[in-house]
Symmetry: D2
Amino acid sequence: MSSEFGKAVKISIFGESHAAALGVVIDGLPAGESVDIESIKAFISRRSPSGDYSTSRRESDEPEILSGVFRGKTCGSPLCIMFRNTDARPDDYSDFEHVPRPSHADYTAHVRYGGFNDFRGAGHLSGRLTLPLCAAGAICRDILSRRGVNIGAHIASISDVNDEKFNSTDISEEVLGSLRASAFPLLNPTLEEKMRSRISAAHSAGDSLGGTIECAVTGFPCGVGSPLFDGIENRIASAVFAVPSVKGIEFGSGFAGSALTGSENNDAFLLHEGKIATRTNNSGGILGGISDGMPIVFRVALKPVPSIAVAQKTVDIENLRECEISIKGRHDACVVPRAVPCIEAAAAVTLLDMLICERN
Amino acid sequence: MSSEFGKAVKISIFGESHAAALGVVIDGLPAGESVDIESIKAFISRRSPSGDYSTSRRESDEPEILSGVFRGKTCGSPLCIMFRNTDARPDDYSDFEHVPRPSHADYTAHVRYGGFNDFRGAGHLSGRLTLPLCAAGAICRDILSRRGVNIGAHIASISDVNDEKFNSTDISEEVLGSLRASAFPLLNPTLEEKMRSRISAAHSAGDSLGGTIECAVTGFPCGVGSPLFDGIENRIASAVFAVPSVKGIEFGSGFAGSALTGSENNDAFLLHEGKIATRTNNSGGILGGISDGMPIVFRVALKPVPSIAVAQKTVDIENLRECEISIKGRHDACVVPRAVPCIEAAAAVTLLDMLICERN
Amino acid sequence: MSSEFGKAVKISIFGESHAAALGVVIDGLPAGESVDIESIKAFISRRSPSGDYSTSRRESDEPEILSGVFRGKTCGSPLCIMFRNTDARPDDYSDFEHVPRPSHADYTAHVRYGGFNDFRGAGHLSGRLTLPLCAAGAICRDILSRRGVNIGAHIASISDVNDEKFNSTDISEEVLGSLRASAFPLLNPTLEEKMRSRISAAHSAGDSLGGTIECAVTGFPCGVGSPLFDGIENRIASAVFAVPSVKGIEFGSGFAGSALTGSENNDAFLLHEGKIATRTNNSGGILGGISDGMPIVFRVALKPVPSIAVAQKTVDIENLRECEISIKGRHDACVVPRAVPCIEAAAAVTLLDMLICERN
Amino acid sequence: MSSEFGKAVKISIFGESHAAALGVVIDGLPAGESVDIESIKAFISRRSPSGDYSTSRRESDEPEILSGVFRGKTCGSPLCIMFRNTDARPDDYSDFEHVPRPSHADYTAHVRYGGFNDFRGAGHLSGRLTLPLCAAGAICRDILSRRGVNIGAHIASISDVNDEKFNSTDISEEVLGSLRASAFPLLNPTLEEKMRSRISAAHSAGDSLGGTIECAVTGFPCGVGSPLFDGIENRIASAVFAVPSVKGIEFGSGFAGSALTGSENNDAFLLHEGKIATRTNNSGGILGGISDGMPIVFRVALKPVPSIAVAQKTVDIENLRECEISIKGRHDACVVPRAVPCIEAAAAVTLLDMLICERN
């Protein structure tokens, strides 16, 4: 336990990479919210493999809403969206049952579940589980959007190539929208070619890459969140680590800010059109766990894809002897572009929950 | 809501900086565990101000156990520890009621609680609330220790001065113990002077510093934690952001690892004395949210202390006009040394909860 | 919110009476437990309408396991079971959109969900939602059974006809098993005819009946449960009220026991084959919220089915005027026999959760 | 685990009968609510022993608010109220360490906590823990009262003497207020003498009595609560079973209603001064778990006090041999009058939580 998240808006994710289906139950959505299946499809299509160096598994990812929607709107009861697995090829993984792939969760899941886990394609620990997360995120994102809250993210780095950063005091919905419309979202699109060549080179070498993603949320009202364990940072962090490969998160000036002085890092308050704002936004829109009305900005670090073709040392856990493994299955050389909507989804699910939960 | 954390071992923290008292209720501790008040005192004394550039507020921080201990052992019912506030000087803060300090939570708490929050010394959002967190952490740490799990942390950086990093595949209890015994814990103690001079310089300039802390946990059994939202990363992250000033966290190779290739970052499995281990530990002891038996290693970033004497721009929120503020109260020029036990406490509370919760 | 229950074993129920499907996600089942689809089918068939005075809606209630089972066993990840609705006739209910049926939840759901609720057949508030509850109960029951915990229930009364009560100090698995095998479970089966004639008479009169159900659990180990809010009584009660029409619950001697003296009601301890037992079981196997090793025994009261053909006063909530209603749809004259497995399911889900949760 | 309750307004109760103190942390109270210590004292004084046949333990029960109140109002952070134990006489219980009192929780707590529980006066399982429950209830009650929600309860029966029942369609605040003002609250006060004589007779015989309590809540808005596991019945039930000795609960017509026909038990809707109401209130104000705007009415059954002077059979659990026990300590012959505010408190805590939680 547990694949559940949320307090007022609770999501419960089910499914395995090669099970009959996967999906999500969302309990606690406000009633009367339009649910647009095309919007959901558009959102989840952004996490679909598409490029040359992505997995060759091709799933239609056709969402079926089983419950919770009546006359096109949420009806107050739990909304369940399901996706059938259609292109599952579990045999691709039979070699790995007793030979855990380095830096994958094969070994830990084996121990955790006493060897009963569905190891095929990592089972419930597969990146494929971000599909229901994105479906939930799409629904929450649309509800947030109708309340004036917008979310967007971009590839902040792949390997050693770094995109620009958000201007965190002034992020327009135009910028966020164009990022969301891009299959390779960058603030400086001229970097795409360079990043793609890095991915191509890694793929050719049988290797893989990681990267970072920067996400921004605008229009989130001031005064939401709580100190100690229920702050926005706590909650977003606990959601984004659900995305496989995420190994770090920082808000506002984050790790770099920790090397500054107070006078450099503090965000002076000012009046802007009669409202309180801050001159800089090193806080990432969050003070004491509570939103301050400025854009919420955070960055996550994704480790390089652990599935690589080059030979690696591992251990045959059945016979307890060291051996080598070379992973030839269907996988990506770099998941960062596909992970962008997943990070947005994690933010959307968290922030809608917090917005509803704390409007008490 | 809410100042609560945990699933099997639940903590509920109460108190304000200048209220009568502050404390913590810990519900769900295993019965029969020795509770050593001296061990608790020793732990919490590490977060007490002591140096030249720390707050001059002097609290005795005398813990009183109100319940949950019988004949020196946990008795299965909720354990409550309380600390009286004795050196509270709420008048120090009267100037700030309507003039939020930049990068403090004064403004957001005011909005969050409709102006009813106890603003004196940041109230419930004060760093003083890490005192009950440390008390809970001390108890959990002792219980973990009896199960072979040890926790230690060091100052990884202050300003631009960086300590060495843990050798994450081989961390001895000796090293952790000597860190815990130090008021200024460093892997390379020769750096203390340099760091202290940075703090001294910042203090003299009416300014402040931040830094990073690296924490390690050894002996944590393999197979604890769950994928998606209940992984060790999710849970530790949601705890450490309860420590004021924390703005980032990374596990294992973290942000730096995101720039590596898979072949560089992957941790090969090997057999070590008949048991499965990894050659490197870029995963920080966690794969798929589940412990892999290697040391759990993470780093957190703390922003510079927002209370600085140099003049800052802010807004008088009562009269809605811009003004200046210079903070002369009792506060630290750098909280990183005092935050070290707080980070350990956050890890202890989380990992005991997970250990007990998932032993199902 | 919310259709979720449980702490270690969490269930999340979704679906509406006339939605595409309904089902349940069970998160936290121990890995390695056999899942027998035939056993699930047998369990849920007991809640199917069958008699002459039951609803004429005929659903195949074919369970489809979407996830969480691998090689016939639970694999540690959330188990989702889904049932398609096939015989839904939503038009039967169109008359009721603005005319709430007395003692149904039409009116309260309308207010609760701002008029957006799926009112057809009561939507998510339909008795049909006990189908996924029973599916979850069947799985939990089988796991409990393998741990020596058995559950059975009987019709304790319908209208003014009362079955015998359990001999609460000595309940054999034979008795429980024969109850579970019966479509009209009674400790004194000779009462069936009398009860059926009461139902028949009510049906002929366009009226309906209620009744009570007594449930027993044997083999549940001593020492599970907690005082205050997490006792067995608290938890079972919070589960059984999920079954529509349940309006009361009592444990052990219950309401009748409240009129006894302490010397009459107390359960003396004794040694039985070297183990501690009680001479009587007026406590219903629970002291201080904690199991005492004796059979857990409780009774629930179900109100008469609110759907009746005789004319009733109600209010047209669209036009705010009083009117009459006569309910001619498909419904039961008495749901007590069909509710028996639902009560067992509520007990099974609760007790497996508590057994696993508190084995810490 | 756990002594916690609530979702939006969470209470965490700590303390043992003979520990240094006991109290409650309330997390999530709306900010800006007046906290009147005199009102709290008046409420908790109603559960104090007073009569001739009550325990002779005399505690001052002086509440100390440790946190969460600023300038006389809730400030948004957790409110902690503490009570010191002053008249604890733990030696009174030394005889019982290995000789569990029949129908007390001594034996089950011993097993549950591996013998480490504080057995003195039942420790955390003592009726004394209703003191912090009442303190929390008083605060929640006052907040509800300012929102037009009133709560009152009366002794519905003691032994074989039955008070009248509420007229559940029309309960005035005058009636509720006079009940709350009475030390022996009855709708028909002429029954007091008869009830007191029953208690006196039981006391003289070294025996004890139980009884029932009926509670009503008026002014609770329509449309609060949720189907399945989060209905008002589920939630109130899970709270009232926290009061020691409660063994049953029924809402509206409850067990008696289960013997009626639908046409007898259904509550016809009508228009009353332009608003929707019901002609009768057999539903106890709850349909489908959701409030319908009518008074919420429920009854609870309390078993007779298990502490009796007459000799009882029990087992010496250290030496595993049968023996006899006669309980001469300080205890009540009948707790029903003192339990009345406890039941109100359970209702207040639950309904404030639900009111705030579901205003989403």
